[in-house]
């Protein structure tokens, strides 16, 4: 079982994940329409790229935008969540050992204590996000079961990984559950709201091009995100 989920199933999950993400990006770009969107994407490409980079970059930094600064607590939680979500799985020692075994290469790794802090950060942040969804009326009205499901898909690998490593007596069982959860997440990314893994960059780039080309970017000094 362990061999299967960390072998063929892992291959399949990664294939779906990578191909799915690429397809999402291609579909997004192909569906842009300079006249309907009213943005001269290609004619003023250099202004567009400048706007796109600004639009992405400011949002990638905590407190980089007005919206982040207006919501400091949320911003901290948001970044703890997303940084942990991205950094932990990629640079975890255990993952890189498997990577070396299976594909013959590995990446730079983070100390296990750091990984633990990041993972716990993700879990605590997720609890905060759930409570926020319930507590704030402006978030509650938007929230659907699907939002909780997506959050669960994203956090499950962390919870199960943490249990396997630190809590469970039955390591073998929990590690298999953990791997399956990770694979569910990988597969879910292209097909659910988790597609914002790539579409965040597409959508931000699009609005950045809009502001960079049409809404003042060619006259002003760039939008003050």
């Amino acid at each position: 079982m362990y061999q299967f989920v960390t072998g063929p199933l892992l291959w399949l999950s990664f294939a779906i994940f990578f191909i799915g993400c690429i397809v999402r990006i291609i579909c997004y770009i192909r569906g842009l329409d300079w006249q309907a969107d009213r943005v001269a994407y290609t004619t003023h490409f250099s202004y567009g790229i400048k706007g796109a980079i600004r639009s992405i970059a400011f949002w990638l930094f905590p407190f980089g935008t007005r919206s982040w600064r207006n919501n400091p607590v949320f911003t901290v939680v948001f970044f703890v969540f997303h940084i942990g979500l991205l950094v932990t799985p990629v640079f975890l020692l255990a993952h890189n050992i498997i990577l070396k075994e299976r594909w013959g290469f590995s990446l730079w790794t983070i100390p296990e204590s750091v990984a633990d802090v990041l993972a716990v950060g993700v879990i605590i942040a997720a609890v905060f996000l759930i409570l926020r969804r319930i507590a704030l009326s402006e978030v509650r009205i938007l929230t659907t079961t699907y939002d909780f499901l997506v959050l669960a898909i994203a956090v499950a690998p962390f919870v199960t990984g943490f249990i396997a490593h630190h809590i469970a007596s039955d390591y073998k069982f929990w590690v298999i559950v953990h791997v399956i959860c990770g694979e569910i997440m990988l597969i879910a990314i292209p097909f659910t709201k988790l597609s914002h893994f790539v579409l965040f960059f597409m959508s931000r780039a699009q609005l950045g091009m809009d502001y960079g080309i049409k809404r003042g970017g060619m006259k002003g000094k760039g939008f003050a995100w």
């Binding site: 919206s67 009205i141 938007l142 959508s203």
Partner: protein, 461 residues
């Protein structure tokens, strides 16, 4: 009754149609007929399939329901943080639902969409600035307005506005003759005070072609005279076209896409005919947005640029004050605290935030910024056509509270507002909330403040 006599899917293209709908006071019959209007679901879904592309699709799909857009919306703030005013909720329950049901919706649903798209969103696009994904719900509501218009669900005044543009190529029934006569009249009225004052019509190859808002010839002809005086004092070689002078577009607010194109092409034709070096548009936010920012796309111009370089009035004012073509009498600078209303249409949506600050530095001694300001400023509360729609008066007046408090917090007694919509909104705000403020365009302020060169002064008898 599938189609009403006044409320229907047909556009208004003749004077008879226009007179009929105008005769229906306050749109009583119009809205009654709307209750029975059928929806052409096939046509609606076909339009959606052709126009609902990756940008909108992605926006609706990836919205994380985080609620960060809530506080960006002045309706949310003005309505005691009513969750039903959260932008994401508003678009999800209207456009989102319309897409989910593949256009299979009821009359009541369409009316709810109309009420939301006009009375809960002025398309100020501020929410898009606060969304981590850059989901611009103002743009989506503009799109929704277009879908609604195609099915006959648009406020009475918007239907009239669209008809006006289709018939007169102006938002009001101002004919070419009316317009030219108004110019002649203003020239005569004002030339005693400003000898040599001319409003040159249809002069080719001028340095500046002036475009404006139909309400100026219709209701505020002195605004045209003031523009002429300032061009005259600045020594500009300018002209105004007899056709294609109207730069606004109620069709943009209404969502009458084909008429957006007709309207803007009329202005572009004037630019091509008269070949001015530059075009200067009046103190109007949406005229600039329609003609300069969105217009090229409606007209299918791939560069996204109008045929000739266009300036908003504030850009021209900043330029002539900067270069000294117009000089302010230092003694006449504004002494009292004064603030500036950033128009969404040419500040957030066209990048002109620095220009008004430059102007204020020349003309005001105690300039006070609203908070927030520049690209982050709140809509006046009357944008997106809302000022003109009787059905949503109450919603608009509640929405005013945010701008009211912003203005009051500055302590300023005067609001400079180079945008017709903002100007109207602030006037109505004062009427309703008695804030004890004054409001003004730039033109009358400047007329009182500029030094008139000796050779342009009236000769003493």
């Amino acid at each position: 009754m599938p189609e009403g006599i006044l409320c229907n899917k047909k556009t208004i293209d003749t004077k008879e149609q226009l007179d009929a709908i105008l005769a229906d006071a306050s749109g009583n019959q119009y809205y009654e007929e709307m209750n029975h209007l059928d929806i052409d679901k096939v046509a609606l879904w076909t339009t959606i399939r052709k126009t609902f592309k990756s940008r909108f699709k992605t926006w609706l799909e990836i919205c994380a329901h985080c609620g960060l857009c809530a506080e960006s919306c002045y309706y949310y703030l003005a309505n005691n943080r009513d969750p039903k005013q959260v932008p994401s909720y508003k678009i999800k329950t209207t456009l989102g639902e319309l897409i989910r049901r593949k256009g299979d919706v009821s009359n009541a649903f369409m009316q709810m969409c109309m009420d939301t798209a006009f009375a809960k969103c002025s398309c100020c696009t501020r929410c898009g600035v606060y969304c981590p994904f850059g989901i611009d719900m103002g743009i989506m509501f503009s799109y929704l307005r277009g879908l609604l218009f195609s099915q006959g669900f648009t406020p009475w005044e918007m239907k009239i506005g669209s008809g006006m543009h289709r018939i007169y190529r102006a938002q009001m029934d101002v004919t070419t003759e009316d317009w030219v006569e108004t110019c002649e009249w203003m020239e005569e009225e004002w030339e005693d005070d400003y000898p040599g004052l001319k409003i040159p019509i249809d002069k080719e190859n001028a340095d500046i072609m002036y475009t404006l808002n139909a309400r100026e010839p219709k209701h505020y002809p002195q605004d045209i005279a003031e523009a002429a005086v300032l061009f005259h004092l600045a020594g500009e070689n300018w002209t105004a076209p007899s056709e294609g002078w109207e730069a606004t577009s109620l069709t943009m607010f209404a969502g009458d896409w084909p008429a957006c194109k007709m309207q803007v092409e009329n202005v572009y034709a004037a630019m091509k005919r008269l070949k001015p070096k530059r075009v200067v548009g009046t103190e109007c936010g949406h005229a600039y947005r329609a003609t300069v920012i969105e217009g090229p796309y409606w007209a299918g111009i791939k560069t996204g640029q109008p045929p000739v370089e266009n300036l908003h009035y504030v850009e021209w004012v900043a330029e002539v004050l900067r270069t000294g073509k117009l000089k302010i009498d230092p003694a006449k600078k504004i002494k009292e605290p004064v603030t500036f209303q950033d128009s969404c249409n040419y500040v957030r949506n066209a990048g002109l935030a620095d220009i008004p600050r430059e102007i204020m530095s020349y003309i005001a001694e105690d300039f006070r910024e609203m908070k927030p300001n520049r690209e982050h400023n709140f809509c006046c509360g009357g944008g997106g056509g809302l000022n003109g729609i009787g059905r949503y008066r109450e919603e608009r007046n509640i929405g005013f509270k945010v701008k009211r408090d912003q203005i009051l917090a500055t302590g300023a007694k005067l609001v400079v507002s180079p945008c017709h919509n903002c100007w109207d909104a602030i006037r109505d705000m004062e009427e309703i909330y008695h804030m004890g403020i004054k409001w003004t365009f730039l033109k009358p302020l400047l007329i009182d403040m500029v030094e008139v060169p000796e050779h342009l002064k009236p000769k003493e008898e």
